[in-house]
């Protein structure tokens, strides 16, 4: 299909979609409306029944925890897919040793390294805080996990490929990722065994605002935090490997 025809088809489709969007938007409740029936009920459930002061966490890890279970496995499957795609192909068996050595020897500026190492501690602390307070304040396992994965990659900025390869045993994180995903299921099944409902709270609810409150929400957050951090580390390790070890070779086919 030539680009001109393709643009024409797109223009027709875009007009149709645009018209439908306008019709749909005019039927929506007005912006800033005071009437949020689902939101009000979710807030009431969270604050009065589930003692989770971060209502968004309560929705994600308690009221709609089954959806989050599915979401977690979307993440898990995508990571497995990425790993399969980025595995070393047969013809890449002979690695470019000199390129690998060069990458390992490459370092940033000393000032960059200093800032990275200082920020490594700060970022790790922030990540742990965000995961550990997921039920109390904005944040949680998904957000904190990404922050933690970022922290480890500051090592790459500061110390190059050698530093991050030393500090990050990838098989360990592969196991941790599986444990995070599996732990979510185990905790969910524990709810089934004890109360009859999947992902029902099995831990005590505590008092609103306490660090030990909200039933399962915080434990689930920790598991998700472990999974997300490991997933990002594992995926980025494959991309870095492709860049550092395989990437320098010119494509052979074609």
């Amino acid at each position: 299909m030539s680009r001109r025809i393709r643009l024409g088809v797109f223009a027709v489709g875009a007009c149709a979609v645009g018209t439908m969007l306008v019709i749909a938007f005019t039927g929506l409740p007005s912006f800033g409306t005071q009437r949020h029936p689902y939101g009000d009920r979710a807030v009431h459930m969270s604050v009065h029944k589930q003692t989770t002061s971060n209502v968004v966490s309560s929705v994600n890890f308690d009221q709609r925890a089954t959806d989050t279970l599915g979401e977690e496995f979307i993440l898990f499957t995508a990571v497995v897919g990425t790993l399969v795609l980025l595995r070393e192909l047969r013809e890449e068996d002979e690695r470019d040793e000199s390129q690998e050595k060069r990458q390992i020897a490459a370092r940033g500026l000393p000032s960059t390294a200093l800032v990275s190492y200082v920020m490594l501690g700060v970022t790790t602390l922030v990540g742990l805080y965000v995961v550990a307070h997921g039920h109390l304040s904005p944040g949680g396992g998904f957000q904190g996990g990404v922050v933690l994965a970022t922290a480890i990659h500051l090592l790459y900025v500061g110390g190059g490929y050698a530093a991050i390869r030393r500090a990050r045993p990838v098989p360990v994180y592969e196991i941790l990722e599986a444990l995070g995903a599996g732990g979510f299921v185990v905790l969910g099944l524990a709810g089934t065994l004890l109360t009859g409902d999947l992902l029902a709270n099995v831990l005590p609810m505590g008092r609103l605002g306490d660090i030990l409150s909200g039933g399962d929400v915080e434990l689930l957050n920790l598991l998700v935090g472990v999974e997300v951090a490991s997933a990002f580390i594992v995926v980025l390790s494959r991309f870095l490997e492709q860049y550092a070890v395989v990437g320098a070779r010119r494509p052979t086919t074609r």
């Binding site: 680009r3 393709r6 643009l7 797109f10 489709g13 875009a14 979609v17 645009g18 969007l21 306008v22 938007f25 929506l28 409740p29 007005s30 912006f31 800033g32 409306t33 005071q34 949020h36 689902y38 939101g39 979710a42 807030v43 969270s46 604050v47 002061s53 971060n54 209502v55 968004v56 309560s58 929705v59 994600n60 709609r64 959806d67 989050t68 979401e71 979307i74 993440l75 995508a78 990571v79 897919g81 990425t82 795609l85 980025l86 192909l89 109390l136 304040s137 904005p138 949680g140 998904f142 990404v146 609103l208 605002g209 997300v228 995926v235 494959r238 991309f239 494509p251 086919t253 074609r254």
Partner: protein, 113 residues
């Protein structure tokens, strides 16, 4: 305000699609898809907004009015899915480049064993 928000969301969706249709580079295609997806964040958060309300968090204060937490949770799901999809597509782009030596979608016409 409402018009502005929803126009912006619709524009993001369509401009992202335009980017995908005219793309000359698979990485550019992936970024266009992300732009498309951003429109859903805007719509979700826009639907959940309540005038004069604050974040649905009751840790230090007890706000009298909070925005809808359900759509915020949906938005989080949306962002997580978006991030994983980007990783998957970029891995695909990398392998495409390795096998075919190009990442221009127009040049990727023939099947190859």
């Amino acid at each position: 305000m409402r018009i502005l928000l929803f126009c912006c969301a619709g524009w993001l969706l369509l401009i992202g699609c335009y980017g995908m249709v005219t793309s000359r580079n698979i990485i550019h295609t992936v970024i266009s898809l992300v732009v498309c997806q951003s429109s859903t964040y805007l719509i979700l958060l826009g639907i959940g907004y309540r005038s004069g309300a604050t974040a649905p968090v009751y840790s230090d204060t007890t706000p009298s009015k909070v925005v809808d937490p359900v759509v915020q949770a949906l938005c989080l799901t949306d962002i997580v899915v978006s991030a994983t999809i980007i990783a998957l597509f970029l891995a695909l782009a990398l392998q495409t480049h390795k096998r075919h030596g190009t990442i221009d979608p127009d040049e990727l016409t023939a099947l190859r064993g």
